[in-house]
Amino acid sequence: MSSSGASDGRTSAASGSLVIPGDKISSDTSDQLGHGVIKLNGELIATKLGYLVEKSGEISIIPVHTAYFPRPGDLVIGYIEGMRSNIWFIDLNAPFNAILPMSLAPMKVEYGGTRDAMDVGTTILCRVQEVDEAHSSVVTMKGMGLRKVNSGFVDTIPPHLVSTISSGSNTIINQLKDASNCRIILGANGRIWVDGEPDGIRMVRDALAFVRDNEHSTELADAIAGQLANGNGE
């Protein structure tokens, strides 16, 4: 834990360093507060275990672990977990199930016909439409590419790794698409749909297992690129 200075028991953390809850980040409260940072008694304090990032005047923490909480606009992969006459309950890998009203389904559904249209266990590609302050969320399947998923394979990575594998110019996801010739869709909730030839799917699964096992590695993208260059994801 790199730190500098000491004042009142708390020590200031440097950018890029690992911080734990309670660590003082800065006395300069003019910074914008990002994820995992609060202002307390005139100081910026870390509330999460993670790595400190300072970007364009905003100070935030990339947590080492976090749960997925839906945000409007997120593209997610969900499983139908239950239904009533006019809505479905969708498991989004979040603490609370979302609802999909009959009116936002991709097909015409009669009242009482929800089970016939999409039964329990169906995998769907949907988008979060709205979230209220009590974390109740509504998803929609009206939109380009939103549909039932009938083929391929769904793998999962921890939600905090989604930005790791999808950010930057040559993302891990793009590398995997190129190397495996598979269709890959990454949901913001950490679920990844992969469809293609069995060898390609296996390569992607192995690479994602590597990502899960080495999630705290600083050179994850390079390690994946090296693996794919060797011709397999093992």
């Binding site: 834990m1 028991g9 708390r10 690992l18 809850p21 790595y51 990339i62 749960a67 600083t218």
Partner: protein, 240 residues
């Protein structure tokens, strides 16, 4: 020979395990020991061995425990039947209920529960081997497990107990000192601010002895906080 008569500290100030009055027992911390949990930590503190794991935030069930404006902390402290020399009867009892409650109260002081309305965060504290001070070890391990699970908190909680043996105030009592000592003062401290979130007392201490025990606990809490930071850095690396 009765309580208070057992000689547990010699004229040179050496305790029966060789420690001086202000010394704490050896502590080893390991993070992420339960892969299926959202966060976990184990602590070996002297002969104590405790595993804490955290699950959630998740939807609170049954619904009657849901709070519309915040999450609830569901803490369960449990001693394994084989954790003591005599078989410990499994299941919840009066003592484990009390410790679960005071641990939850202490953790509620730091966890930002208002970020997760209607949710539940489950904290399981399992005492695998018990010597003395298991509530302190459990609370400290639970705070580590919460941090490991990515639960937002304003500070870590460090808990440690001091007490009195043969008229001398000492820090971090071991089993004999706990059993035959005259007093015990477990405290939960926020190491960055010095605030107190948990305090219990068993036995009698004069005001000056209380102050001495308080100072020992505060000093020990800072040392343990450094060990916690080291353990986290070992698991996740110092910087990215």
């Amino acid at each position: 020979m009765g309580y208070g008569d057992v000689q547990m500290i010699d004229e040179n100030g050496n305790r029966i395990d060789g420690r001086k009055a202000g010394d704490i027992r050896p502590i080893e911390i390991e993070m992420g020991v339960v892969p299926v949990a959202d966060g976990s930590a184990s602590m070996r503190w002297g002969t104590n061995y405790v595993i804490a794991s955290v699950y959630g935030p998740m939807e609170a069930h049954p619904r009657k425990i849901q709070r519309q404006e915040r999450a609830v902390l569901d803490v369960r402290y449990n001693m394994a039947p084989f954790s003591t020399t005599d078989r410990f009867r499994p299941g919840f009892n009066r003592r484990s209920r009390e410790i679960s409650k005071v641990t939850a109260d202490a953790l509620e002081s730091v966890v930002l529960l208002e970020l997760y309305p209607r949710s539940k965060i489950r904290v399981e504290i399992e005492i695998i081997c018990a010597e003395a001070g298991t509530r302190c070890v459990g609370l400290t391990a639970a705070s580590l497990a919460l941090a490991d699970a990515g639960i937002p908190m304003t500070d870590m909680v460090v808990s440690v107990a001091s007490g009195k043996i043969n008229g001398v105030v000492v820090c971090d009592l071991n089993k004999e000192e706990d059993n035959y000592g005259a007093a015990d003062l477990p405290m939960g401290v926020l190491p960055n601010t010095g605030e107190l979130v948990f305090l219990q007392m068993d036995g009698d201490l004069s005001p000056s002895e209380f102050q001495e025990a308080w100072d020992y606990n505060m000093e020990a809490a800072l040392k343990i906080h450094e060990l916690m930071k080291e353990a986290i850095a070992n698991k996740y690396g110092g910087a990215q």
